[in-house]
Symmetry: C2
Subunit: 291 residues, 2 copies
C-alpha cells in the first residue's frame, strides 16, 4: 500500500505520542519532532510504500529517545485488557456447539475485533473500560468482508503473521481451531520491538509458543514485514504455506506491496487510507482472502 | 506563542482538509502535502513563533491550489449556523434585565462560545446540529477565566480584532453593549481570506460595518496579526486604544509575541498547546485581561 496524505500527520502524532510515553523532557521531544519532520520530508512522496516512511520515522524517534521499546508499559496494558475480555470472547465463539466451519469464522471474527487493542492510531480508539461492551457489539455485527469459508479448506500449513500485544491472546482462538482440524501453525512476530507489536519475548512470557508449532520472526523491528530483511526460513515458510494469514494494518500495508499468496488479511480498518484501499468503511471488520 | 509539537500534525491535517475543500484532484493534493511537508521542515524549530510555520504552510497550499479562498463555502455554513443560534444567544444575554456590567460579561461569554464556530481544528469540533444545545450548555457553564469586570472600565475606545465568520455575528452583542455605554469600536479583520476568518467583504455582506465606528484590516492574509505587515492606521489604532480585544486562538498566538496592551484575549481553548499556554483545560472559555 502506498503512502496517503493522512499518513503524514498520523505518523507525526504517533511519534509525539511515543515520545511522551518514553520521556517528559520537552526539549528532547521538540528535537525529536523536528528530526522526524526532516525524515518525513526526506521519505514522503506520492507513490512510495507507506512503510518506508513510517519505519524510518519510528526508528529515528527510538534512536533519539535512546529507548528500544517506548510502548513497554502500553503492551502490558494491552495484554491485561485482552486477558479480561478473553473469557467473553471464548464463550461467544464456542456458544451453541457450532460446526468447525462456523467455529473458524467466529474465531477469526474475535481475532479481528482484537485488532482494536492497538492504541495510538489517530481517530479510532476504544477506551479500555468499554472494551467488553465494544467486543460484544462488534461480534454481533459480524464480518463486513467474510472469506472465511474459502480459507477453511486451506488450513493445513498456516503462516500466521501476528500484529499487536493484547490481540495476540484472541489470535489463539484461531490457532486452537486450526490445530483441532489437524493443521500446522507457524507464528511470525517482529524481530525487535516496534509500536505495541508482539515480539518473541512477549510470546514466551504469555506462553503462546506452546499453542503453535513454531515461532519465527520478521528479522527486524520494521513496521509490518520488511521482505528485504526477512530471514530465509521465513521466506521458505511463506513459499510452503497453504495459507498466509496477515493480521492488522501494518502487515497489510507491507505485504500488499508483494506478489504472494494465498494470503488472508484479517483486520479492523482503523483509518481512512486503509479502509479506502480495501473498499470498506472505517471501523469495518475484514477477513479477505487474496489467492 | 511558540510552536508546539502538536502544531506540526495539526497543520498538516488542516492543509489536507482545505485541499479537499478546494479540489478532488488527488494528484494535486499529494503534491500539496509533499510541498507543505517541505515548508514545515523549513520553518519548524522549537522556539519559533507558531504563526511563522502556519502562515507559510497555508499560503503555499493556497498558491498550489490556485484558490484564494478554499473555505468560501464553509464560511457561508458558519454564518448560516450562527444566524440560527443568534436569537437564543440574544435572549440568554438580555434575560432578566441585567446590569450593564453583567450584560457585558454575558455578551463576552456569548462571543467566546461563538469561537466554537471554527471548523477544522483537530480534536474539538461541534456538529452543526448540536450547536444550539452546545451553546446553552456552555453559556450555563460560564467563563473559566473571567476578567470582564476589569475590562468594563476600559471600553471608551476599543480595537476589536475579529476571528472567524459565524462567530462574528455573536461578536456584535459585544459591540452593542460597548456602543450603548458610549464607547468607540474599531473592528479589525483580515486583509485577505485565510481559513474561515472574517474579511472586509464578509463584514460588508453581513452589514456589520454599520454596527461599529470603523473597520480596518490586518493588511495581510497571514494567520492572526502579522505586525510586520500591519498598516500604519492599525498600529496607530493599537497605540490609541483604551482596550484591545483579541478574539480566538490565531490572534492569541500572534499577539502574545508582542508587548502591547491593555489587551483582552477572548477565546475557546480548542487545542492543548493553547490551553496549556493559558493554563486552562481544552474546551474552557477564556476572557483574560493582560495590562
Amino acid at each position: 500500500m502506498k503512502v496517503d496524505p493522512q499518513c503524514s500527520y498520523c505518523l507525526l502524532s504517533r511519534v509525539h505520542y511515543e515520545s511522551e510515553l518514553s520521556t517528559d523532557d520537552e526539549i528532547l521531544i521538540g528535537r525529536i519532532m523536528q528530526e522526524c519532520i526532516r525524515v518525513l520530508n526526506d521519505t514522503y512522496a506520492p507513490g512510495v510504500p507507506a512503510a518506508s516512511v513510517s519505519t524510518s520515522m519510528h526508528q529515528r524517534a527510538y534512536e533519539l529517545l535512546n529507548d528500544s521499546d517506548p510502548y513497554r508499559d502500553m503492551k502490558e496494558v494491552c495484554n491485561r485488557t485482552a486477558e479480561n475480555v478473553f473469557p467473553i470472547a471464548m464463550s461467544m465463539v464456542y456458544d451453541g456447539d457450532p460446526s468447525d466451519n462456523e467455529l473458524f469464522r467466529r474465531a477469526v471474527l474475535a481475532a479481528v475485533i482484537g485488532n482494536f487493542f492497538d492504541f495510538g492510531v489517530m481517530g479510532l480508539e476504544v477506551p479500555i473500560s468499554l472494551f467488553d461492551e465494544t467486543f460484544r457489539q462488534h461480534f454481533i455485527r459480524g464480518l463486513n468482508i467474510d472469506d472465511t469459508s474459502r480459507m477453511f479448506d486451506m488450513l493445513d500449513n498456516v503462516v500466521y503473521i501476528a500484529d499487536n500485544c493484547g490481540e495476540i491472546l484472541l489470535d489463539t482462538l484461531v490457532f486452537d481451531i486450526i490445530k483441532k482440524l489437524g493443521g500446522h501453525v507457524t507464528l511470525v512476530v517482529r524481530g525487535k520491538p516496534i509500536l505495541t507489536d508482539v515480539t518473541m519475548k512477549d510470546i514466551i512470557e504469555l506462553g503462546i509458543d506452546e499453542k503453535v508449532d513454531r515461532v519465527l520472526t520478521t528479522g527486524s523491528g520494521s513496521i509490518g514485514v520488511d521482505m528485504s530483511q526477512a530471514p530465509q526460513e521465513l521466506l521458505d515458510a511463506f513459499r510452503d504455506a497453504s495459507l498466509i494469514i496477515s493480521k492488522g494494518m501494518a502487515n497489510y500495508e507491507t505485504l500488499t506491496e508483494h506478489e504472494m499468496g494465498p494470503i488472508a488479511y484479517l483486520l479492523k480498518a482503523k483509518c481512512k487510507p486503509v479502509a479506502r484501499h480495501i473498499g470498506v468503511d472505517v471501523g469495518h471488520s475484514v477477513a479477505r482472502l487474496c489467492e
